[in-house]
Symmetry: C2
Subunit: 338 residues, 2 copies
């Protein structure tokens, strides 16, 4: 059973604070858009689909709490709140997709009574959650076809239940393969700087009884050289029209290593992760995060405090290095090599 | 000025405890071979040439402290101590090279009076230190020819003053280039799990006033894709007869990435790092270290305590991925490209 990362409970947003995992599973009730913004910014809520859901729930929260007496005023409040939430993180397009879906719905229903418009927006956020659940299951079914019994699979960062409304994108595929009775062994990259692989992916995989081995990011190449990795599955934060995919920093390097070692490299992401407004990965804005995320780990300094740091949160894997992109609607295979 | 990582002081071995850097520079006086074994094992002393020196000084220490009344008994003590020290870490061949040099010298001078044999062994350890200093300077001169003003250089782990008796192998090249007035910018991989790049390399580079940027290991590929890395310089722990080089885990992956991005990849190591008894990198024993080095960082757990871990300390870069091996005697360039 996947954990419920984020949902709507008694007029508030209830989410798991992912920064405390795997040591503590703490649910936070959030009824404040500023707090939600910070939760996204600080990765208490993370994972592209989950961030999208957080955005949709944020818009619903603004509507639910609004004291607006006209629907036009309510729409304006939602527009402003959505603009604010959109400034929390720049790369995962699911956030903008969900926010713009909420705003469009509000605008095109501004003639409804305030009460009805509020219900409509809350209902839409719930609909987005339901769609994400269905997407996860569909991606998992499509993806599991690529997994054979006996496979050793590498994954990077966390593309699991914590990143979605259900059991994940890349990890969903693995959970589904296991459910189908396939024996798999999973290597999880720890994923510096914020260690989503060590903290979240390892935790989720162990919870599902999957044979899991944690490695440092720089150990993957050595495993590939030894023929110990059969396939790689990762998620994505934004996919350009041409199939270039932004995902957690380190993904691109893995894809190059996969090509060199002839290991199939799969990206698993719902269609809400596609950005058809941009042509290639060059147009994807890459978030740079504070240097102290690298200089320190869990509050402990690991480097000279005055050293400069380069800390991009994502990198872009060109389409030519991706064996297939697995979505809820089907699988896009590589058309040409190079 | 390089720090003095390890030396002989008043009949004891004085070394910097590298596990405390960069926060504390603590010198430890060691007059006990068990303590020295632990210091090597736990990376208080680390870096292939420095481990070699530690081995030589260990043999000298055994001799200096010996109560043997015959030289034959002294030789036996040295033999036993050396065997014990050889069990501290398996990969860096400099340790075995230095230990066997000390034992051979002891054996072939077993006819000397005890006092003279002791002095001879202590003198030999000092000689090994002096040779390493001269090697560092010679490697640096040879290597600096490959550095141009304006270069951005990536390095992995620590191949600096802390790893040698002087200012290092790979880092020695950079220090020399700077002394020659070349403007360089250095990216230091943090080097999980034990963070030698973040803790030691960043500290050494900043001490020498070099423009230094710390990155997580998984960020190097993204920098290469952006054309931001001109060259890579790393050290080595053991080089096979065919030129395959074992170095800190993550080096092989960098070499593959360098090939893909057409970035020259240099290994800098003294001849004492070569193992002419083995043909290829396949014969190099790779140390696997405790899982808790990955599960925790600076004493803080970062993963579920029950997750399995794969923690090899080194990987092997095949000769074909190395642009040149820079030694104190000259430079071995790549003869053929794949």
């Amino acid at each position: 059973m996947p954990v419920e990362t984020i949902n709507w409970k008694n007029g508030k947003i209830r989410y798991i604070d992912q920064t405390l995992l795997p040591h503590k599973v703490r649910f936070v009730d959030c009824s404040n858009v500023r707090k939600l913004w910070r939760a996204i910014r600080c990765l208490e809520i993370r994972g592209a689909p989950a961030i999208g859901i957080a955005g949709a729930l944020g818009a619903a929260l603004i509507a639910a709490k609004s004291k607006a007496r006209s629907s036009r005023a309510l729409v304006r409040e939602v527009e402003n709140g959505v603009k604010y939430l959109a400034s929390s993180r720049p790369t995962a397009v699911n956030l903008f997709w969900a926010l713009s879906r909420m705003v469009c719905l509000a605008r095109s229903n501004s003639s409804l009574p305030v009460r009805d418009l509020k219900d409509l927006l809350i209902g839409e956020a719930m609909e987005i959650i339901d769609e994400d659940k269905a997407s996860c299951r569909a991606m998992a079914r499509h993806g599991a076809k690529f997994v054979k019994s006996g496979d050793a699979i590498l994954t990077h960062c966390n593309a699991g239940g914590l990143a979605t409304a259900d059991y994940g994108t890349a990890l969903g595929v693995l959970f589904e393969a296991k459910k189908q009775g396939k024996r798999i062994k999973v290597y999880a990259d720890e994923t510096r700087p914020l260690l989503q692989g060590a903290r979240l992916t390892a935790w989720e995989l162990l919870n599902e009884g999957i044979d899991t081995t944690l490695i440092c990011d720089n150990m993957a190449a050595s495993l590939m050289a030894k023929g110990k990795i059969d396939k790689i599955f990762v998620g994505a934060d934004r996919i350009a029209s041409n199939g270039d995919a932004a995902n957690k920093i380190g993904t691109y390097g893995l894809a190059v290593l996969a090509k060199y070692h002839k290991v199939p490299f799969y990206v698993v992401a719902p269609l809400s992760t596609f950005d058809f407004d941009i042509k290639t990965g060059r147009d994807i804005p890459i978030e740079e995060r504070p240097g102290d995320e690298v200089r320190s780990i869990m509050g402990k300094m690991i480097a000279p405090p005055n050293v400069k740091v380069y800390n991009p949160a994502f990198d872009v894997t060109p389409r030519r290095l991706i064996t297939a992109i697995i979505t809820e609607k089907g699988v896009y295979k590589k058309l040409s090599t190079k």
